[in-house]
Amino acid sequence: MGDALIRAADGISLEIPRGEFLAILGASGSGKSTLLNLLAGLDRPTSGAIFADGHDLAKMSGEELAHHRSHTVGMVFQAFHLLPRMTLEENVELPLRLAEVPRSERPARVGEALDRVLLGPRRGHRPSELSGGEQQRAAIARALVNRPTILLADEPTGNLDSRTGEEILRLIEEIHRPGGGAPAVTVIVVTHERALAERYADRIVTMSDGRISGEERPR
């Protein structure tokens, strides 16, 4: 708290093509999570513009931003952020409630999302009954259930051991390229694990002091 103005993300110009797997690397406080929040519509830029599907997020109303978060993007967090009082099924159903998806469609959509992350048999379990990796998979299922075109992941492996982190990124890679002729999902992952980023991302953007300090294409 204070009067000093911190520019968490400043002078960023970044274009992300549809279907790209982008990894944002950077040290703590470099502004990568802020950039992700701006892309998610959770935060608003003080100046500039952010276009998603041709719509400027900076000029959207609160309702429009909520619609963007509900229908266009799916979010995965480092701390999973599953609601502990709900079962996996109920957690995954939550975005469907918010998007006002008819009740009759929900069980199939929830089942599909949980099966995709291999948690179908655990649908009645509460988050506390699951391992960290399973919780993150459940969070991914929740992010996917509304069939977003953009998947945003903020340090998805941050709370996981390296093997589980690898599994999660492999899962995200599968979601990115679903196969069977389905369109690729745009994935933007914030991480500090360069090795994983180099293995799975189409492009890596490095941030420092709120600015993009580097860009590379590992593949």
Binding site: N37, A40, L42, D43, G62, E63, A66, H67, R69, S70, H71, M75, F77, H81, L83, R85, M86, L94, P95, R97, L98, A99, E100, R142, N146
Partner: protein
Amino acid sequence: MKLGDLCELAARNLRESLLRNSLTTLGIAVGVASLVAMLSLGIGLQQLAMRRLERTGLFDSVMVRPRQLGGPNGGARQRFGIVTTQPEAVRPLDEDARQQIAKLPGVLEVYSPVRFNAEADLVSAGVPAAPATSGATAPSGAVPEAVPGAPRRMTAISGLPNSDSTNDAFDGMQGRFFSSQQAQEVILSNDLGQSLADDAKIQPSALIGRTLTLRFPQRQARPASAADTTQTGSQPPSGAENPTELALGFTIVPAEKQFTIIGVIVSGQPGAGPGGFEGSGAYIPLEVAQQLDPIQGSDLRDVMGEAAAAHGGKRYANLTVRTDGTSAVAAVEASIKQMGYQTFSLLDVTRNLQRVFAVFDMFLGIFGSLALAVASLGIINTLVMAILERRREIGVLKALGAADRDVRTLFFVEAAAMGFLGGALGVALGWSIGRVINAGTTFYLHRQGLPSENIWSVPWWLVLAAMGFSVLVSLAAGTYPASRAARLDPVEALRYE
């Protein structure tokens, strides 16, 4: 988010902090119970007062008279106190009119009140009463033996219809009400009963079963031709044929009648319609009184030139219309006025009384609402605590697509649910308190030797209004927490540990 989903989430949230939410709901329940208790007492007292007034027979009655002075349809006009009679089109208050009024919706009965003066003497014990024959009067010469040394008492006699049996003046009466409208029975007022008992040196209750002789001036119709006159069962008029009497169509003869005393009123006086405020010394069945055809004050009209015979039928000076409740009085009055008659009722008095009780209820409601106001602070506290506890959950909801409106509505639904449950519980609690107080009042009244009274009333509209008010207060209390939750920055909320 759809309302059904919001309600499900709200119910889940309320179940999570069961103890705290239950205590908050209980606080609301106590507030609503206080409100219901206060208002029920006010309504109960109002209904008690109205019930007592209605049972006097004064407030559900309309007095009807022919339109006479300055009416819109012409007739006699009054200017500077001078009444000038003109050829008029005043509708007579005759039997046709009586039957027409009796057919109006809400009308129970229409009758011509009978009130006359008579001498009342108690027949000595042991003297058999003269055989009571309906409609027959004894010649005044055959006076049964009165109580020795007792003064002759002039008193007012009123005829009462059967509907007066519910009049609260008869509550606690010694004896009973008339067995029928043809019964030769009399009920004594407290004053007359006491006087007669003192004369006979007995208790008033010992008068029941004794015989009372009434001597009164009787109106006797005269045929148009004196040659056709036949007198049966009555003393013939004395003196020569009087041209004035012939013109009037009736003569006045002394008559007497014996009645069996069946009751003595302990306290109060039955109001015999708007014309009977003063109360009478004794009461006989209305139909018997009409058959006696006694001379009444209204007969002066006939003497002044409006003889019934001249108009070719029976006319009433006034009629009393008994309705099936005070609510029917206004409509009945309006209908009768449209028929061309003057009306009078005490409805305005009840209206003023209702106004007084409305103010009384308002004050009781304000005091009752104070507890609810305190309970609303509990709702604010509970929901603010919920925001702190569910800060990250709110952030997650917003990240998943919840709009500010959804979060606000969620908190409002939770507040409304607590208000609704608290309201329902409070109404039940208030009703229970009322039952207890009513039972206590009944017990106290019984110990005082008084009949039990229902001073408590919880009408259905009060139940709905109390629950609605509870929900409204809860929603108002939820406004601040809901708005605060809706404004929560999702990024900050997601960081919250």
